[in-house]
């Protein structure tokens, strides 16, 4: 029974993701989802009591399965990974829009930092050894907000920028944030790497 419940839930989410290729999220009805999966509309409601629950579920699926970020350890890898992702967002704006919206809505359950946040915190600690906790948090916050699907969406809707231009802004912000917290005279080990995208990420030895 537990297995069946989980299968229904993921089948509904898969169906919703497929429908997103054709219609906006707000036009996906519970009835059509039920029909597609072969369960009653009521069953869909049991899994997703409100549209915010559905939005969150669909976003989690896109985030982990359909448009995940490439893992990174250094600032250069972080920038390349985010650029790649922003370019992918341009090719599937509805899915990226769902990611952004789900991050913006009042959370349906107690929010926890996602994988991207953990990875950004690790990058900041890696790039700024010896920085105090307050500065590390500030830096992680700045990098995380510009790597967010929310920033890609803001750049697109209010400024008419594409994913590449949004990634350029992330590059500049990352460079400045890290430079601001590095001891004077110390040169960035990775901020001078190319800002154009590379499909294969450079691999840096872990410290």
């Amino acid at each position: 029974m537990v297995q069946e419940t989980r299968d229904t839930r993921s089948a509904v989410l898969a169906a919703a993701c497929t429908l997103l290729d054709e219609v906006p999220f707000d036009d996906i009805s519970y009835r059509v989802l039920g029909d597609t999966v072969g369960v009653a509309e009521r069953t869909v409601f049991r899994h997703f009591p409100t549209r915010a629950h559905l939005l969150t579920g669909v976003a989690q699926r896109i985030d982990t399965l359909e448009m995940p970020f490439a893992p990174f350890r250094t600032a250069a890898e972080f920038r390349a990974s985010t650029r790649q992702r922003f370019l992918a967002f341009d090719t599937a704006p509805r899915k990226a829009g769902v990611l952004a919206r789900s991050a913006a809505v009042s959370p349906v359950s107690a929010p926890e930092p996602d994988f991207l946040t953990h990875a950004v915190v690790a990058v900041v600690e890696h790039e700024l050894p010896g920085a105090n906790r307050r500065d590390l948090r500030r830096a992680a916050g700045a990098l995380r907000t510009f790597a967010a699907p929310l920033f890609w969406a803001h750049a697109r809707t209010s400024l008419g920028m594409d994913g590449a231009a949004a990634a350029d802004v992330l590059d500049v912000v990352t460079e400045r944030v890290l430079a601001a917290l590095r001891p004077a005279g110390e040169h960035a080990q990775s901020s001078s790497s190319s800002s154009s995208s590379s499909s294969s990420l450079p691999s840096w030895p872990l410290p």
């Binding site: 906006p24 915010a52 929010p111 809707t157 400024l159 601001a180």
Partner: protein, 204 residues
């Protein structure tokens, strides 16, 4: 019906509303803060605002239109930015904006999410496009007109994003920051973004 309601803290960015629109938006804002955004029925909005349900629908035919109007209105009133003289004051305004969002989190979520409906919903048309809520783009044009176009674009994008509910949401939910730290982190980032880079020595 067409009397402009200038009662709300008026700035040049405040939308001009009819009495009906003002009544509906005021009621909806109160209901959002009590019940959350999800599924506040139009019937309840009508009852609270003292306007016939039919009139609510005539004023805002869809929930998206209602939300877009609500988001624009709260950004211009509850979250109004003080007019800044200089782009270099933006870090200070960002700090205030973040504090205001923290005080009314449900409304901040509405302000963060609503403009995104335009991304996924082309059918919503121009009305779903967010109104300009800050003076940042103008200030960047006026004060940094000598910087190259690219730097101007980057600055505008970075500062408007830092001055937005999107950044508030990320700092609150992903970094799990307290209101004070959210204000501090966003203002700090704005300051860093405004610093001239070593490469452009001439600029202030």
């Amino acid at each position: 019906m067409s009397t402009p309601a200038g009662a709300a803290a008026a700035t040049e960015l405040t939308p001009v509303l009819t009495r009906t629109q003002l009544a509906v938006l005021t009621a909806y804002v109160a209901l959002i803060e009590e019940l959350g955004t999800d599924d506040v029925p139009f019937r309840l909005i009508a009852r609270r605002s003292g306007v016939a349900e039919r009139t609510v629908y005539r004023t805002y035919p869809t929930r998206t239109q209602l939300l877009v109007a609500t988001a624009a209105w709260v950004e211009a009133t509850a979250f109004a930015r003080e007019a800044t003289e200089s782009v270099f004051d933006v870090p200070l305004t960002v700090r205030e904006t973040m504090r205001a969002y923290s005080e009314r989190p449900e409304l901040a979520h509405v302000a963060a999410e609503t403009p995104l409906r335009a991304v996924s919903d082309a059918a919503a048309g121009d009305e779903a496009l967010p109104a300009e809520t800050t003076h940042v783009p103008r200030l960047v044009r006026e004060e940094l007109g000598t910087a190259d176009d690219e730097r101007q674009r980057h600055l505008t994008a970075a500062l408007t994003h830092l001055d937005s509910p999107a950044t508030w949401v990320v700092l609150r939910q992903e970094l799990q920051m307290e209101p004070r730290d959210i204000a501090d982190a966003a203002a700090w980032a704005a300051e860093v973004v405004l610093r001239p880079s070593p490469r452009e020595g001439g600029e202030r």
